[in-house]
């Protein structure tokens, strides 16, 4: 939760997120806007107009940019989660050893007070 709170409080992050969403929306709109049939409800052109194909290709760099940003954010977050999980593993190990110690020492104590066992 601290990570999210930290991010929420950063205005730079909010601006970046907003910008990324806008870019994503624009890229999707321009990429899908030039795809065939559903632009024209009635009276179809028989073949995809050449300029439609070319403008779709011209938008590929935008798509690339959006995907790079999205995946970078994804991997960054995964890295963060991985670190946290690693720490937690360490703490669990510590707990287990502490428990082992405690059980061993209480078993020792019982043996000391009951030598006939």
């Amino acid at each position: 939760m601290s990570f999210i709170e930290g991010l929420r409080n950063s205005p730079l992050f909010r601006v970046a997120l907003l910008g990324a969403l806008i870019a994503l929306g624009l890229a999707a709109w321009s990429a899908f806007g030039t795809v065939g049939a559903y632009d024209v409800p009635f009276g179809m052109q028989p073949a995809p107009a050449p300029q439609a194909q070319q403008s779709a290709e011209a938008n590929l760099p935008f798509l690339f940019a959006v995907f790079i940003v999205t995946w970078a954010a994804f991997f960054g977050y995964v890295l963060y989660v991985s670190r946290r999980q690693r720490e937690m593993q360490g703490e669990i190990e510590a707990l287990r050893r502490a428990l082992d110690d405690r059980e061993r020492s209480s078993a020792d104590q019982r043996r000391e007070t009951n030598p006939n066992n």
Partner: protein
């Protein structure tokens, strides 16, 4: 941390009641899934045990009964496409190289419909007047992916 008892999470506790809320959720969920699978099987095999008929098979089978939908697959016969000015109704012929099937479709057609390499799947009914009226058109994409020629 002065408390001496630790709360054991529910997942680690043994299931004591036979009709626990877990069990109910499971049953409901499983029934939903089995129901969904049964529905899919019904949908998938309704009307035909094959996904589509060829043009020759469709002509042999003849008109489709009411309330049933079938699919037929073929290629667009050359020069057979006809759409009246301003109309949404398209008429064309489907062929498998031998037999020819007259067809009609109301509404939008995907771009690839007009591509030479495309196999067209029509979903609809074969009427007694010899026209296959399709409600849905699926254009099967060619399986070979070829780079387009670099122009210029």
């Amino acid at each position: 941390m002065s408390q001496t008892d630790t709360t054991i999470p529910e997942s680690a506790q043994p299931q004591t009641s036979l009709v626990s809320s877990h069990r109910v959720k499971l049953l409901v969920g499983l029934m939903a899934i089995v129901g969904a699978l049964g529905f899919f099987a019904f949908q998938a095999f309704e009307g035909a045990t094959v996904y589509y008929y060829t043009v020759a098979e469709m002509k042999e089978i003849g008109p489709t009964p009411e309330n049933r939908t079938v699919r037929v697959s073929g290629k667009l016969a050359a020069d057979s496409f006809h759409r009246a000015e301003g109309s949404t109704l398209a008429e064309f012929d489907l062929t498998d190289g031998g037999a020819i099937l007259a067809a009609a479709h109301e509404g939008v057609l995907p771009d690839l419909f007009f591509n030479d390499h495309s196999e067209i799947i029509l979903e609809g009914r074969y009427h007694a007047d010899g026209v296959f009226v399709s409600e849905n058109v699926i254009v099967k994409c060619p399986s070979k992916y070829i780079a387009e020629e670099e122009s210029g």
